[in-house]
């Protein structure tokens, strides 16, 4: 596996949905090999931030600098879970970098995908259509695809939502293993106890960045209150941002 060569740098990043900023003037860095929780109220721009780093949204302003390949675990609700594809085929799509659109998947790649299914606890599920899986099993398939992608930078969007305790614990173990291998990992999370226990770094986002650093320093009562205030105080008829004009 390849270790991340460089941090993921955000420079004055603003990403918009229909002119309304979802991420607002965010600067900072995910250090190589760091394990960061991204927390904040609903609508704080957490998903948008991950998708922008993965190259799915264009920044309105500022930029993202990454030297490494990025893999994203999407929110499960963004996928069609009834799609007629087998578990093994779904996982093998993670080999896109090697197989490309046309080449056959090499036996080694197939073995890799089977090993990944086994690693997420889905041994014997190769031929099962993903439509027949429970929400937890489907999430395991997506984790297997991430394993196969073998990216130095891994972004997870609400990876443990709607999972039972055992599945969540097993997937968390995978995340920690990635961290142990020196990959850069960032996860959008809502469970603050989990964040305090297992995630060394935290980015608290409420559209504007509230805090970014060691978890204990960021998740203070004062910061949490500020994030909640900002979430409640968003104006529906906001004027153009004057920071934009200054920039």
């Amino acid at each position: 596996m390849t270790r991340p060569a460089a941090p993921v740098l955000l420079e004055n990043l603003t990403v918009c949905h229909e002119r309304r900023p979802a991420v607002h003037h965010l600067s900072g860095a995910f250090a190589p090999g760091s394990l960061t929780a991204i927390v904040g109220p609903n609508g704080a721009g957490k998903t948008t931030l991950l998708r922008a780093i993965a190259g799915l949204h264009k920044p309105q302003e500022g930029r993202i600098r990454t030297a490494d390949r990025v893999a994203l675990l999407p929110q499960a609700s963004m996928l069609d879970r009834g799609f007629p594809i087998s578990c093994l085929d779904a996982v093998m799509l993670g080999l896109w970098r090697q197989s490309g659109p046309f080449r056959a998947v090499a036996p080694a790649g197939r073995a890799q995908a089977e090993a990944a299914l086994e690693a997420v606890g889905l041994r014997g599920f190769q031929k099962r259509p993903v439509g027949s899986l429970s929400a937890g099993q489907f999430q395991r398939v997506l984790f297997a695809r991430l394993l196969v992608q073998d990216a130095p930078v891994i972004l997870l969007d609400e990876p443990f939502n709607a999972l039972d305790a055992r599945t969540a614990a097993e997937m968390l173990a995978l995340v920690k293993a990635w961290h142990g291998e020196g990959r850069t990992v960032a996860a959008v999370l809502h469970d603050l106890d989990l964040v305090e226990r297992d995630f060394p770094q935290t980015l608290l986002l409420a559209r504007d960045p509230i805090g970014w650093g060691p978890t204990a320093e960021v998740l203070t009562a004062a910061n949490r209150l500020r994030a909640r205030r900002m979430a409640e105080g968003w104006a529906e008829d906001a004027a153009d941002c004057d920071m934009d004009q200054a920039a």
Binding site: P84, I85, W96, P101
Partner: protein, 273 residues
């Protein structure tokens, strides 16, 4: 009549797989829109050059591509909730097409363009059908993986740089071509039927994309044979006859298909253990 049969079989090989992908992408309505959208183009060709296949085909392709691009733009502008706008679009296209044909000809031509005429399939039309089928099957075999990925997880496709949007446009262009190939034999209103009905029915026969494609092609072949025979012997317009047989296939699939068919549901007992 023999030409119509060969042509319909060619279309039966190529159009239903496209229909399966349309269905999986929840774009069944888009096929309808494209089917109606090519009518004004065909009508323009008809106005300029009469019932000439090259002229009508060219007009149809141009109109179809415009509508495909327009539907894509509508989809992006409405964030995937485009069905109302699409319904509006295809009603307008249909009305415009009918008015244009009526301006240049009579009821006979209108019926032929809307509902098809097995006897209207000349060598040029047959060539168009065969060429379209060959091209479509080639492209689908070539681009199977990107098409599946684009359907299953478009964001992932973009994130790994799989040129997702590009494949989607290629795919829509193939849909337009196939609708156009079908229209001589089946008519613009009914051509969609040979694409979508077997695809929808195939859902009840298989749980994976490949199986659905085989089932859809088989159903389309049967519908083409049966429909054209029915049309020939009972003197019916060929398009509705083929589509009716395909519709019968859908009802049978819905009732007796092993995957979520009605009787399969009634009979099913849970497994032991």
């Amino acid at each position: 009549m023999r030409r119509a049969l060969v042509g319909c079989l060619a279309v039966s090989l190529a159009a239903p797989p496209l229909g399966v992908f349309l269905m999986l992408r929840r774009m069944s309505l888009t096929a309808d829109v494209l089917g109606h959208g090519i009518l004004p183009g065909i009508a323009a060709g008809f106005l300029l050059a009469g019932l000439s296949v090259p002229a009508m085909a060219l007009g149809g392709v141009l109109a179809g591509l415009v509508v495909a691009l327009g539907a894509g733009a509508l989809s992006r502008a409405t964030g995937g909730r485009e069905d109302a706008a699409l319904a509006a679009l295809y009603l307008c296209a249909l009305a415009l097409g009918v008015v244009m044909v009526a301006m240049g000809g009579g009821t006979a031509e209108l019926t032929q363009l809307l509902f098809g005429s097995a006897l209207g399939v000349d060598d040029a039309a047959l060539l168009l059908m065969a060429a379209t089928a060959t091209l479509s099957l080639g492209v689908m075999a070539f681009a199977w993986r990107p098409l599946v990925l684009e359907c299953f997880d478009p964001s992932f496709a973009r994130a790994v740089g799989a040129w997702g949007g590009g494949w989607h446009m290629v795919f829509l262009a193939l849909v337009v071509l196939n609708l156009l190939a079908a229209f001589q034999a089946l008519g613009t209103l009914m051509g969609v039927g040979l694409m979508m009905l077997p695809a929808v029915a195939a859902r009840h026969w298989s749980r994976d994309v490949g199986g659905m494609v085989y089932a859809a092609v088989a159903l389309a072949v049967v519908a083409s044979f049966g429909g054209l025979l029915l049309s020939f012997h009972a003197d019916l317009p060929s398009g509705p006859a083929v589509v009716l047989v395909a519709g019968l296939g859908w009802v049978v699939s819905l009732l007796f298909g092993p995957v979520e068919g009605v009787t399969a549901r009634l009979r099913r007992r849970h497994l032991a253990g």
